[in-house]
Every structure is written in structure tokens, then in C-alpha cells.
Assembly symmetry: none
Homo-oligomer: 207 residues x 4
DNA sequence: GATGAATGAGATTTCATTCAT
DNA sequence: AATGAATGAAATCTCATTCAT
């Protein structure tokens, strides 16, 4: 059996194991067994537990970011249409690959070898959002860009809201909402606010 | 030294340890050393690693929820004022006790002995937010309540956004923003949208 | 509360604990709690776990041997009557103080600090049996004593049989037999043999 | 080195360790060292201390029972010849494998995971003895069987006497008696009594 | 290319024992 | 006379990792 296939099997097994038990609690024994190979082979191909986890992270990250990117590729639509498309892609992907998503989420709090990878993923998404907000501003006829720091914060808020909603949606017992429903909910939650923001309006405590 | 004092020392040390390394990777040795006591004493007072972690969770949860509750206690202000107050309290608390907050965040993905505690905390906060949204609707003169499911989703989105922003704010290297700045950023992100929502407006993909 | 009373309470508790779990598995915490005193007091009065166990052993040993001795005290009866009385006393005692008996039995296999105590107890009983067999020989008109080695072996066999029967009797579910019934069973098992032995008769493989 | 060999080495070492110190006091470190392997390997092959001990028990039990069974296999001899053969086999086996025998004896007082195994062994041996007593009754021309309860008690007495004698014999410092000597001693002790019993004679306290 | 055999290091937990009061 | 507070040492068990084949 060719190396690539074997390696994919291992990564699949690892994602399942890490998602189920977290990085520390997942054992190389379990993963090797789940992959249907012997442990030394896992070490031969993937060096160490740390490297294995990093490989999972990289694969899941690029799968997720890729999916979102495809969702936002269409250059024709308005900025909110594109954001909506990206969100739909995001919710669809997390619903279809819950284990991969769980691994990414968990890596967030795991400290330095891994935090970098997740930070990089967030940066990619932030970049996407930044572009969209720039488009929105231009569409609104105001070419003054938002401050980089503010955009970064907004992107984090958006991603956090999306992450939380993804978990919430998948946990529903009264009928799991479709990706589109969830995306619409998030758009309702934030878009009007964003639209005002790019026009320069700000909420302030003492109105 | 009286038991209560020692117990608080241990919880403090445990929160630090768990925040730094996560539940699995934190070792009882480290925690005992950090607390300045021997390991058997930790076991004598707190039974087991699981119980110790649960005690941390409970303490940090009630500290956080208490702080937010105090922030939203003022019944006079408008709904957005109250939300703003709650968010300020939240960001202030997470900034002042970053380790406690990290422990709560991490417990989320830890499975059943612990997830319950965090779920209960989220439920408490979600309830607060739900009440505020109800007030906002009333203030806006529209007494038709939002659907329970929608409110739940929005509350989760808001809480998720706040959680994510708390992490982002604390991690800034270019000057940590004040709680008020962060809260303002989140209000900008979502309040206008919420205001419209309670009035019945909805974003839809094809406008 | 006077020291002697406290000490008896501790021994009682220790016997219960050691009987229930064995020497190693019984913990000083349990014992102190069962005795209703604090642990340092146990150490103040009884020095160490080893000493505590030894004290239990000594007390239970002298109680048991004392009971059997009383049973065989009557000098009037025939040798078999006396043996029968001793056995009755033995079975009655082990039925009434099962924990004490369990402690003695278990100590047997515990190695050097304790084996000595049990060996001494066996020696006491052997001595009793030896005297009885001497009487039986004299009653039978034959004054040639059995070899010491043979008597020792017979005493061990008798004690072993009695021990086994004591356990068997107490474990019956279809009505626990009285001490007298059990003693009669053992007499039936061995007395005729012993009677022949003292007269010089021997069983041999090739008759 | 193949697994089976290693496993036998471990069992051998464990029997030695458990015999020397008892179940609780024997440590897995000692056992592993005695076996010439590392501790993890012991756990890999035998799961846990409990399982290791159970495995010892099972092996020693079947070795002992097997030996006794072989001893009593000859169907030609009289009942006492067969009993004698069985006893010889028993004493020979316990003399040759004193550690195995010590482990079995100690397991008796160890409570539920283990007591079962020893109880089953006793039941096997009791059954053998019962059959022999039945044969003896038939040989004596009396086809009225002894009451089941009485046979059970007698078998326990015999087994107890034999167990006790085995320990006694091995502990002699003045020359260890041969298995045949020990067996003869026990036959002398009980056989005449048993012979009378099966013919209906009973000892009674007031003759 | 693949694995059965093996281990060093370290995890949680328990226990007999002692101070200081 | 009695105890709450505290610990050193050691137990069982697990895991990531590597040879030798």
C-alpha cells in the first residue's frame, strides 16, 4: 500500500482520536489501532506525537480555510453576499467534518507548538474579512479604511460568534439547522452593525 | 495554618497550573509546589485531580457570573446600556483574572465531568442576555417576543463573540485595550443589528 | 476517659479492621475512626501499626487459648471427654468472636514479626493435645509415650482440621451447626484413629 | 524472546513474590525485577496486579489439582489406598512447589476477586474425597451413603488437616519428612475413624 | 515496508507517621 | 489527654518512544 494512502489513514485516525479525547488524552496506541497499522509505522511516517498533531492541524486548517475561500471567491456579489457565502461554507464544513473542527478548536488552548498554527488560520480568515469590509466600505462610497486594529478585533468577534454558533447548531436537539439558517442568524446578528461601522457610525455608551 | 486559607492557596495554584498547561498536562506535583504544600495535603483537602479541577471551575464560574450580574444590575438604564455594562464587567473580569478565564474556556472541551459546569455557566449568561434582548424589544415598542430558538442562537453568538474578543484583547502586544474599548468594539459589531432584529427586520441573502 | 478503656476500644476497632481487610489493607485512619479517636492517640498508646497488630494478636491468642484451656480443665473426665470439651470451647469461641479468629488465621501467613505469635499459640495447643494423648495412652494401660515429632504433627493435623471446620461451620447456609455438633463431627473424624495410635497401631500402605 | 516464555517467567517471579510477602505487600517492581523484565512489560502482558495474581492462582491450582488427580487415578486399589495415593501426591507437590502452595493458601483470606478461585479448588478436592468415602462405604459392604452434609464436613476436616500438615512438614527444621511419612501420619490420624464412620459407628460425648 | 518486543520516565493516589498546640 | 495540620516514601499504572528483525 502506497505511502500516501497509509499516511491519510493515519491522519484520519489521529483526527478522530484527538477530537474525541484531546491532545494529551489521545494515545498513540489508540491512533495506530484505529488506523489499522502498527505503532512503529506511525512513528516512521510522522516522527512524533507532536508532529502528528501538527500535521492534523495543517490538514484541517487548509481544508477549512479552503472551503471558506471557495465560498467567498465570487467577485460579483455584494460584500454581504460574499460574507454570507463564506459563512455558509464555514457552517457546512464544520457540520460535515466535526472532528476536524473539534481538533482545530482544541488546539487553540494548547500552548506554543500548536497555537501558532491556529493563529495563522485566524489570520487567514481575518484577511478575508478585512477584504470584505473594505469592499463594503467602497460599495458604501466611503473609501476611508477601518483601522487595522479594529478590523482585527471585529474579525475575532465574528469568528468567535461563528465558532460558538457552529457548536450551538450541531448540538440542537430540536432539529439541527441548516448551514444557511445558521449563517442567516449570524448575518442578522452583525451585518447591520458592520454596515454602519464602515460608514463611520459608532455606538457609544451615552447617547 | 487554618484549612480555609490553605484551601484557597491550593485553588489559586491550581487555577494557575490548569490555565498554563490544561487539565491533562498540569501535574499535581506542580500544583502542590506552586501552592507551597505537599501533594498529600492537596489530596487530603480536595480528594482528587478531578475534584480539584471542579472546585476551580465552580469558583471561577461564580466569580465571573457574579461580576457580570453586578454589572447588569442597574434596572434604570436602557437595554443597550445594561448590555454594555455587563460586557464591561465581563472584559474587566477576564482581564483581571486571565487564568480563571482560561480555565473556564478550556473546560469546555473536556467532556462530561466538567462540560456540565461550563454549560451551566453559559446558560446563566445566556439567560441574562435573553432578558436584555426582551427589554430591548419592549423599549423599542414592539412587544412581540423573538422566537426562543432565535434568541438562544443570538445569545450564543454574542457570548461566543465576547469570549473570542476577551482572548484577543488579552493577547494584544500593541497595548492591551481597556475593558470599555473592547466592549465598545463588540457593541459596534452587533448592537445595531440587534436593534433592528427586535424591530422585526431581517437580513436575507437576496435583497 | 481512662487509658485502659480507650486502649480496649482501639484494639476492638483494630481487630475489626484487620479481620475485614487483612494487615496490609487495613489503614490506621480507618481504625482510628472506628475507635472514635484521633490517629495521634492511637500512635501515642500503641506505638506503630506493627505493635498494634501484635497487641491484637496477643489479646486474641490468649482469649482463645484461655477458652480452650478452661474447656479442658476438668481433670475428672476421660481423655476423649476432655478433647471434646476443648473442641467445643474452640468452636464456640471462634463462632462468637469471628473477627478475632480471622485475625489469628491471617497472621499465620504474614511473615516474621507476627508468625512467632501464632507459632507460640500453636505450641500452647500442641502442649494441651500432647497432655491429652498422654492421658489417653495411660487410660489405655500403655505408658509408652508417642514420639514428640509425631505428636507435633498430629496436633497440627488436629488444629488444621479444626480451623477448617470452624470456617466451614460458620459459612453454612443451611443452618449453622452448633459448636457441639461441629466438635462431634471432628471427634468422629479422628478419635478412633487417635485411640488406636496411642495403643501403637499404625495404618500402613500395604495391608 | 517469545511472549509465552516471558509470560511464564513473569508468573514464576510473581509466585515467588506473592508467596514471600503476600498479595498486598508484594510490589510490582519486585516482581518485574525478579522476572528480569521492566514493569511496563508485566502490565502489557498481564493487565494488572489483580489479573497477575489470578493467573498465578489458576496455574498453581490446576497444577496441584492435576497432581492429586493423577495420584488417585488408579481405580483398582481400595479406597484407603487411593486416599493415601492422593495424599502422597498432595504432600509431594506442596513440598516441591512450596511457593505455589503458599500463594494458594494465602489467597484464601483475600476476599472476593480471589476467594472464588480457592473455593473452586477446595470444591474439586472435596469432590474427590467424597467419592473416595463413598467407595470406602461400598467396600465396607454398607451401601447406605453418609449424609451429604456430614461428608462435606469430613472432607473439609481432611483437607484442613492436610493443608496444615503440609505447612508443618515444610517448616520442620529437624529434617523435612518425606511425602509418604506425612501422608502416613495423616492416615493414622483419621483413617480408622473414617472406617468406623462409614460403617455407621459414631463417637458420642457420653459413652 | 512493517512489526513484535521492550522500556524510561512520570502520572495519580495512598499510607504510616509526626509536629505544634 | 488529645488533635488538626502536614509530609516522605512508595504503590499501581500509562505513555511516547525505540530496537532488532
Amino acid at each position: 500500500m502506497p505511502r500516501e494512502v497509509r499516511e491519510r489513514q493515519m491522519l484520519d485516525a489521529a483526527v478522530v482520536g484527538f477530537a474525541r479525547n484531546g491532545y494529551q488524552a489521545a494515545s498513540m496506541d489508540e491512533i495506530a489501532e484505529e488506523a489499522g497499522v502498527s505503532k512503529p509505522l506511525v512513528y516512521l511516517y510522522l516522527k512524533s506525537k507532536e508532529d502528528l498533531f501538527t500535521a492534523c492541524l495543517r490538514r484541517e486548517r487548509s481544508a477549512l480555510v479552503g472551503a471558506v475561500r471557495v465560498g467567498t471567491r465570487e467577485r460579483d456579489g455584494s460584500a454581504d453576499q460574499q460574507l454570507w457565502n463564506g459563512l455558509c461554507a464555514f457552517f457546512a464544513h464544520t457540520a460535515v467534518r466535526p472532528d476536524g473542527w473539534a481538533v482545530l478548536q482544541r488546539a487553540d488552548t494548547l500552548g506554543e507548538p500548536f497555537a501558532h498554527e491556529v493563529a495563522a488560520m485566524r489570520a487567514e480568515i481575518t484577511e478575508l474579512v478585512t477584504l470584505l469590509l473594505g469592499r463594503a466600505a467602497r460599495d458604501a462610497g466611503c473609501d476611508e479604511a477601518l483601522a487595522e486594529r479594529e478590523v482585527s478585533g471585529l474579525a475575532h468577534a465574528l469568528v468567535g460568534a461563528a465558532e460558538s454558533l457552529a457548536g450551538w447548531a450541531n448540538a440542537r436537539t430540536d432539529g439541527v439547522p441548516s448551514a444557511k439558517e445558521t449563517a442567516a442568524m449570524l448575518m442578522n446578528f452583525c451585518w447591520t452593525g458592520l454596515e454602519h461601522l464602515v460608514k463611520g457610525a459608532r455606538w457609544s455608551p451615552h447617547r
